[in-house]
């Protein structure tokens, strides 16, 4: 592919970038989005799943709280299919100060956040597994939000309005002509091909990697503190309501029911490099203890997978000293105006932020871009829904089961844990044009259930081999890559039931299939394919 030209180049395919692409495309701009990997492979794909009511911030960060209150309501309207209305509880555990509850309530009142204190007995009736020793409980409009659905929905929406979504395209350099950023040089990671993208404007939405990108434009003094946090997905919904610890924000104080799992998180440790974020034993032990505090018996439940994500916490030498605990750095976002700061034109960077405010972040940065361009087109993202949200109904957990009931005898079930049928899988493989089974996992939740792909991944590989016309070596490489990725997320939390599962899988993959002795061939070199986000309807539920 030779060079491309566009109005707006968006760097970063997480929630921020997808939101920006959607916003800009809706305003009629021609957009190209690039991400070095799959969409939502960075922070967005590794976050907690919480659509904040804002309760977490009412005391310490009122601005953030206000933003959450407003955006929570807007997102429920425009991307309902990505959101499950779980509701939330703030609970004062035996170790917390009950007086904080009063501060909390006061903060909620000020932020017009509809929080209500309920009797502990009522909270325990709602959620029987909660720690019976909790001392106070408050309801809030928390919800859980599926990051992948959100990001893919926005990206497809942008594509439907003409945007080009280029996954697996890494930015190698930004082009400067005098004081202006004129575009970027990118490399297609799958084919190795390099080319230039000429852009009228470049929007840096690369989150934890934002500093690396701006440096390519010769801009110095910007840092992003990668605030590493680990999360553990538990095999089933131990609770059906988001449970927050009612205390000053601390580690491990949220348990989120998201899709079929519940996720406990998170820690907050400063990392040096956003790509070097190992999960440590201490963090795992800490999360399990934190889970036990909220739900006694947590340690006897089954942990499926652990992962680390990085919060992009902004640190600008030109605006004040960095804080030690990254939690103290403001969670609100800001558009970095590079004209003002660096004298560089046609580049804007999004700093900070959280997934709950993705729409607002996109609006702010595209508005800023428009101001700089002298363009008056206004934001329409509060009015329009991206594809996949047409029926206007919030997501319900039973939807896949309900849908499967209709095709029970018509369709082969490939991923049994997450109820994914063969037709759906084949469509997704074709549409995404990928040979990476991990990409499919993100699109469909393939292999995200209790067996973590143990039983479905052989099936998916065989189907991929057929649909994608892969060679045996390519398909096998994909399978091995998947198993290795899977192992990364499993081994730090391998105990109890999940260890049994893993050992059974060893018996299957090694003892029965003897996978490790397949002759190596085109290892790690997946077939050529153009990711094709433009076509068709987005995946439902």
């Amino acid at each position: 592919m030779s060079g491309q030209t566009t109005d707006v180049l968006v760097i970063g395919g997480g929630a921020t970038g997808a939101g920006v692409a959607w916003d800009a495309a809706l305003r009629g701009f021609d957009v190209v989005l690039v991400d070095r990997a799959d969409l939502a492979e960075g922070t967005s794909g590794r976050f907690h799943g919480l659509l904040h009511s804002g309760g977490r911030y009412v005391v310490k960060d009122p601005v953030a709280a206000d933003e959450c209150v407003a955006e929570n309501a807007i997102l429920r309207r425009v991307i309902p299919d990505c959101i499950e209305d779980t509701g939330g509880l703030f609970v004062v555990t035996p170790e917390d100060d009950p007086a904080y509850g009063d501060q909390f309530l006061e903060g909620c009142r000020r932020a017009a956040l509809p929080a209500e204190e309920i009797p502990v007995s009522e909270a325990l009736r709602m959620e029987p597994r909660l720690n019976p020793g909790i001392r106070r409980a408050f309801t809030v409009p928390d919800a859980s939000i599926d990051a992948w659905k959100t990001v893919w929905s926005l990206a497809r929406g942008a594509a439907a309005h003409g945007a080009r979504i280029l996954t697996y395209h890494r930015v190698l350099d930004l082009h400067r002509e005098g004081d202006a950023v004129t575009g970027a040089r990118v490399r297609n990671e799958l084919s190795g091909e390099e080319f230039d993208i000429e852009a009228g404007f470049t929007l840096n939405a690369s989150g934890a990697w934002a500093a690396q990108i701006v440096r390519m434009a010769g801009i110095e003094g910007i840092g992003v503190i990668p605030g590493k946090g680990i999360m553990i997905a538990m095999n089933h919904r131990l609770v059906n309501t988001v449970i927050n610890r009612c205390t000053m924000p601390a580690d491990g104080d949220i348990l989120v029911p998201i899709r079929t799992v519940s996720v406990i998180g998170t820690t907050d440790i400063r990392a040096a490099d956003p790509d070097e974020i190992p999960v440590t034993q201490d963090e795992v032990d800490q999360m399990l203890d934190d889970g036990e505090r909220l739900v006694p018996g947590f340690r006897e439940a089954r942990a499926l997978r652990v992962w680390a994500g990085v919060r992009p916490l902004w640190q600008d030498e030109k605006s004040g000293p960095a804080a030690a605990d990254t939690r103290d750095v403001s969670r609100t976002h800001a558009v970095v105006d590079h004209i003002q700061r660096d004298g560089v034109e046609r580049l804007l960077t999004m700093s900070g932020g959280k997934l709950t405010t993705l729409r607002l972040m996109a609006q702010d940065i595209v508005d800023a871009m428009c101001r700089q361009m002298g363009d008056e087109r206004r934001c329409r993202t509060t009015e329009e829904s991206p594809p996949g949200n047409e029926d206007g109904e919030l997501y319900s957990i039973g939807s896949r089961l309900r849908r499967r009931e209709k095709t029970l005898r018509d369709e082969q079930l490939v991923c049994e844990c997450e109820l994914i049928g063969r037709t759906r899988l084949e469509e997704t493989i074709r549409r995404r044009g990928t040979t990476n089974l991990d990409d499919i996992r993100r699109s469909l939740r393939l292999g995200m259930g209790p067996c973590q792909g143990g039983f479905c991944i052989y099936r998916a590989t065989g189907i991929l081999h057929g649909v994608g016309r892969l060679s045996g070596a390519e398909a096998s490489a994909s399978l091995r890559h998947f198993l290795q990725e899977r192992w990364k997320g499993m081994w730090p939390i391998l105990y109890g039931d999940q260890l049994r599962e893993a050992r059974l899988d060893d018996w299957v993959f090694q003892g029965l299939l003897d996978l490790e002795h397949l002759p190596a061939g085109a290892d790690g070199a997946p077939a050529q394919a153009e990711p094709d986000v433009q076509s068709e309807e987005p995946a439902r539920a």
């Binding site: 942990a303 082969q412 045996g472 003892g511 002759p519």
Partner: protein
């Protein structure tokens, strides 16, 4: 009934021990949480496939592949559980096993092969696995001399992908010409049928005829035919030989993901033998504890509802499996334990040390954990002292092996289960009772 022996576990180790004991006239009670092992494996008896450090060598690991298992047994490191059985012990167990199956309810279905030479059988992903003793229905899959294979799969059988298998098999250094075809044919016409569903289909002549009709015309000269391991559960011999006749060439089946039909056949055969010998299996009876008196276990406890039942017997065989079956468990504080009797575990990683390595295919520090035993299969403590006199341990519960990597799981289970039975027969009065009964008859 007060049994002579209680066997805990219904895998290959437990059933081998129980049937051997029943042969010798013992009254055997098998207690188990459920069914397992056999239904999940290949249904072959893999004795030893790889020895030495595991590798992902470019040659597909041929460097440490074992060709002659009997000889290779002698080279295993000390502490490997095969060491407690010895090559003769393994050979005796294998001979007994083959005879038992051949004279069992599925006769003339039988196992072939021995300990001299491993066959090389294709796996469901198209790799090649060394295996010592295999059902007759799989033997023609041996690829040591290359040849041409047509792999037949079924769209409705999602756990078997013939084209993928064939593509990979064709890359094997052994020089196999392989191709895959997929039939749109299924029992009942359903789109999603398990291996067992297909096996029941294959048990019917009409289905076999349809398969043969669809396959027959597409075959090339000198091509043998591979099917998924679904060639009948009630009458595998009849099913398989009829297919060979209909297709006019060697036919074999390739084991795939659970449920394992060859494993189910194996289970059914052994269970039948156990029942014929007067033995009993109680399922849903997890052993939750034991009463001890010095170096003897005097009773095992199982529980239904609020009440415990005590099961007493002079001898006990512990064959509960390893981590996969819950015979050994690790809790969230990283403490490991043997779950039925609370025996101490050996070959555990250092406390606070790594249990696993980041690379999936490496051997992990936790892999060899299990119960250590002496030469008479009695559990021993850290200093090697015998802990219990009337309890013998067999199968995947044993420390010191990495059976899924070595491809030694079936061999270990069979050999140690058989030996446990032999030891009990010798050391108790069962041997004399049996001899007496024969004399009186």
């Amino acid at each position: 009934m007060i049994p002579d022996v209680i066997v805990i576990g219904t895998g290959l180790a437990g059933l081998s021990a129980a049937v051997r004991l029943g042969d010798a006239g013992a009254r055997v009670l098998v207690l188990a949480k459920g069914v397992g092992g056999t239904h999940l494996g290949a249904g072959t008896i893999d004795v030893l496939g790889y020895a030495g450090p595991s590798s992902e060598a470019e040659d597909g690991g041929r460097l440490n592949r074992v060709q002659r298992p009997l000889a290779a047994l002698a080279d295993l490191p000390p502490g490997h559980p095969y060491g407690q059985v010895g090559a003769e012990g393994v050979a005796a167990a294998v001979d007994w096993f083959k005879e038992r199956i051949a004279s069992g309810p599925l006769a003339p279905y039988a196992y072939e092969g021995g300990l001299e030479d491993n066959l090389l059988l294709p796996t469901a992903v198209g790799a090649v696995r060394p295996s010592a003793v295999v059902p007759e229905t799989m033997a023609a899959g041996d690829v040591r001399n290359g040849g041409r294979v047509c792999v037949v799969g079924f769209r409705a059988l999602k756990d078997f992908h013939a084209p993928l298998l064939a593509d990979n098999l064709a890359r094997a250094p052994e020089g196999v010409e392989a191709r895959g075809v997929e039939l749109d044919l299924a029992p009942g016409g359903e789109p999603d049928v398990s291996s067992l569903g297909f096996a029941r289909g294959f048990d019917e002549a009409a289905f076999r005829a349809e398969v043969a009709a669809q396959v027959g015309g597409r075959l090339r000269v000198d091509e043998r035919v591979a099917f998924p391991a679904t060639l009948g559960v009630a009458d595998p011999h009849g099913t398989w030989s009829e297919l060979e006749r209909q297709l006019g060439r060697p036919v074999f089946e390739i084991p795939t993901l659970p449920p394992s039909v060859p494993g189910i056949r194996l289970f059914n055969s052994l269970r039948h033998a156990l029942r014929r010998g007067g033995g009993e299996i109680i399922l849903g009876a997890a052993v939750t504890g034991a009463d001890r008196d010095g170096d003897r276990v005097t009773a095992l406890r199982t529980r239904v509802g609020l009440r415990e039942t005590l099961h007493r017997a002079p001898w006990i065989v512990l064959a509960t499996g390893g981590f996969a079956s819950g015979g050994v468990a690790l809790d969230s504080r990283w403490n490991a334990r043997e779950t039925a009797l609370g025996l101490p575990l050996a070959r555990l990683p250092e406390p606070g040390g790594e249990r696993f390595r980041p690379n999936y295919f490496d051997e992990h520090p936790l892999s060899r954990a299990g119960v250590a035993v002496d030469g008479d299969l009695r559990p021993v403590g850290a200093n090697g002292d015998r802990l219990l006199d009337n309890v013998l341990v067999a199968g995947a519960t044993l420390a010191g092996a990495v059976p899924w990597k070595e491809k030694s799981g079936d061999g270990l289970s069979l050999a140690t289960g058989f030996k446990a039975a032999e030891l009990i027969i010798q050391e108790s009065d069962l041997g004399q009772r049996a001899a007496q009964a024969t004399a009186e008859a």
